[in-house]
Symmetry: C2
Subunit: 348 residues, 2 copies
C-alpha cells in the first residue's frame, strides 16, 4: 500500500516521524510492504512553493491508499493580510479528495480520567463517535464583501445528497457500535437545518429503522456534551457545528494529546491526523506527545487499509504504555515526563 506522509508545520515532523516508526514496525511484524512518501503541506509549502497545497502533494495523495498528516500552521503564517494561509491547504485537501466525513472518536483513556476538567463520574465510560460533515456548509459556501467593504457574508449551504451520504455513514457506524444516532442541527431557526433534518429523518426511517435515532439542537447539544456525554453513541452534524462540538468534546478526556481523527470519502484515500495543532511553542524541543498521531495511524490501518488486527494492536500498545504510567509533559501534570522519541520507544 502507498501511504503519503504530510508532516506539515511545528511539531508535525517530529510526531509523524514516530508514527512512521510504528508503521515500519507493523510492516515487519505482519509481513506487509508499505511504500511511504513525504510531501509538503501548510506553512512549509507556502514557504517553499507559495501554495499550502502544492500540485505534487495532491497528486501523490490521489495515488495513495492513505494519508497521515501532522499539523499545519503557526504564528509565522498568521498575518491576516497574507494572500494565503496554511489552513487553506487543509480545506483544499479535504475538498480535492472529497473527504466529506470527519470521524472523531471520543473515548477517554481510563488511565487519564483524573486529568479531565469534568468529574470522573461524568466522563468514565464515555464512548462517542462524531461524524462531522467536512466538505460543505458555511466553510465552502459563497463568501465576500459588499457595500464598499462594509458588509461581509458567508453562505451556509447543504444539498440533499450531501446530507444523505453523511447520515448513511452515521447509520452504518452505529450498527457496529451501540446502535444510536444523534443528529444535531438548528432546525428551529435555520432553513439549512430544516433540510438537514428532513433528510436525516427520512434516511434513518427508511434505511436504519433498526437503530435508535434522535435530533438535538446545537445549543442544547453544547450543554448535553458536558452534563451527560455518556448518553451519546454516534453524533452526526454539519461542518461548523461539528467543528465546535468536536472541539468541545475533545476536552472530556482531559488532553488533546491522545485524540486522532479520520477524514474519509466514499472511495479513495482517507486522511488521518491528530486533532491537536502544530504547537509552535514546543516545536523542536522533543517534548511533543506522539500518541495522538500513533492512534491516528491505527485508524489509518483500520479504515483505509482494512487491517483491523494491526490497528487494535497499536491501540492496545498505547493503552499498555499509559497503564504503565509513561507520560509526556502534556499529560504528566507536574509528574516526571518523557520525550517524544522515548514515548514512541515504549509503544514500539
Amino acid at each position: 500500500a502507498n501511504i503519503v506522509l504530510l508532516p506539515g508545520d511545528g511539531i508535525g515532523p517530529e510526531i509523524v516521524a514516530q508514527a512512521e516508526r510504528v508503521i515500519h514496525a507493523v510492516a515487519k511484524k505482519f509481513g506487509h510492504t508499505f511504500h511511504l512518501e513525504s510531501h509538503d503541506i501548510g506553512g512549509i509549502a507556502i514557504d517553499k512553493y507559495g501554495d499550502p497545497l502544492p500540485a505534487a502533494t495532491i497528486a501523490a495523495c490521489k495515488k495513495s491508499q492513505a494519508i497521515l498528516l501532522g499539523a499545519v500552521g503557526g504564528p509565522k503564517w498568521d498575518d491576516p493580510t497574507a494572500k494565503t494561509r496554511p489552513e487553506k491547504g487543509l480545506l483544499a485537501i479535504r475538498k480535492e479528495l472529497d473527504l466529506f466525513a470527519n470521524l472523531r472518536p471520543i473515548n477517554p483513556s481510563k488511565h487519564l480520567l483524573d486529568s479531565s476538567p469534568l468529574k470522573r463520574e461524568i466522563v468514565e465510560g464515555v464512548d462517542i463517535l462524531f461524524l462531522r460533515e467536512l466538505t460543505g456548509g458555511i466553510y465552502f459556501g459563497d463568501s465576500g464583501r459588499r457595500e464598499n467593504d462594509t458588509v461581509a457574508y458567508n453562505e451556509m449551504v447543504y444539498s440533499v445528497p450531501e446530507v444523505e451520504r453523511i447520515v448513511r455513514l452515521a447509520g452504518e457506524a452505529a450498527r457496529g457500535r451501540r446502535g444510536k444516532v444523534t443528529s444535531v442541527d438548528k432546525a428551529n431557526v435555520l432553513e439549512v437545518s430544516r433540510l438537514w433534518r428532513q433528510v436525516s429523518d427520512r434516511i434513518m426511517k427508511e434505511e436504519f429503522s433498526d437503530l435508535q435515532y434522535e435530533v438535538v439542537l446545537v445549543d442544547a447539544m453544547a450543554m448535553h456534551l458536558i452534563s451527560r456525554p455518556k448518553d451519546f453513541d454516534v453524533v452526526v452534524t454539519g461542518n461548523m457545528f461539528g467543528d465546535i462540538l468536536t472541539d468541545e468534546a475533545s476536552m472530556l478526556p482531559g488532553s488533546l494529546g491522545l485524540l486522532p481523527s479520520a477524514s474519509v470519502g466514499s472511495s479513495g484515500p482517507g486522511l488521518y491526523e491528530p486533532i491537536h495543532g502544530s504547537a509552535p511553542d514546543i516545536a523542536g524541543t522533543g517534548k511533543a506527545n506522539p500518541l495522538a498521531t500513533i492512534l491516528a495511524t491505527a485508524m489509518l490501518f483500520r479504515h483505509s487499509l482494512k487491517l483491523e488486527e494491526e490497528a487494535a494492536l497499536i491501540e492496545q500498545a498505547v493503552d499498555t504504555v499509559l497503564g504503565a504510567g509513561h507520560r509526556t509533559a502534556d499529560i504528566a501534570y507536574g509528574q516526571p515526563s518523557i520525550g517524544t522519541v522515548e514515548m514512541a520507544d515504549h509503544v514500539l
Copy 2:
C-alpha cells in the same frame, strides 16, 4: 415605570408570577410605583391570535421601560410543517426592539458548586459576562431553497456598524469589571469573521486601549470554556457562536435554574428572561424554580431602571436563600425540595 410581563408558555406564567411578587415587594420597600401589564407571546399567542408576536404585545413593549419574559414554546407547537412557531416571536421581538446585545452573566453560586459537572477547582470563582450579538448574523440573513428544493441556504452577514456597537458595549462592560475583553470568531475560515475581527481590533485599539484584549477562535473557545473558564471576563461574539457558547457555559454552574439573561438595545426597553426553557413536562405542577426569573428581574432593575440598590438586594436575597439550603427540585439532587411559591416566599 412601565414594565411589560410576557409570561409565555409552559412554566412561564408560574415563574413570572413569582417575579411579579418580587417587583411589588421592591416597589413597596423603596417607595416606587411600577405599572405592570401582561401580554401574550409565543405558543399561547399563536393559539389566540395566530401570531407568536401580536401587534398589541409589541405596541405595549415599545411603550415600556422594561420587559420580563417567562419562556416560549412546547411540543404543542413543534410541528415542523406549522406555518409559524413560538420561537419566531422571540426572534421578532429582538428585531422589532433592536435588542442587539444579549448579556449573560455566568457566575456559579458558591452554594451549588458541587452540582456542576465540572470539578470544583475549575468552576469556583468563574465570573464571565457574555455579550452575544442578537439581531444579526445567520439568524437574520437571507435564507431559502433552490434547485427544486434540494438545496437550502442561510446567509451569515455582519456589517461594520453592527460589530462596532456590540464591541463598544463589551468594552464599556469590561471597564466596570476586570478589564478584559475576549472576542470570539472563526477568522481563519469565514469572511464574516475577518470583518468582525478587523472591526473589533480597531475599536478596542482606538477606544479601549486601557483594557486587556484577545481574540480566540470559536472552536478553541469551546474548549477553553471547559478547561479554563476563570481566564475570561467579558466575552463578545456573534449571534450563532454566542448561542452555542453561552449554552455551553450555562453548564458551569450545574443548573440552568439560576441563570438570567438581558437583551438590550441602544435605547428603548430591555428584555429580561431566565435562560431555561418552558419546561412543559413540569408546567402546572408548582415545581418550577423561580430563581432565574427573579434574578432576571434584578438585571431589569439594574440595566433598564438604573436601580442598582434594588437589584443588589434581590441578588443578595437569592444568595441568602440558597445559603440557607432552600432548594427547588431541579437543584435538590435527591434532597428534600420546595415548590415555586415557597421558594419565592423565602426570597421575599
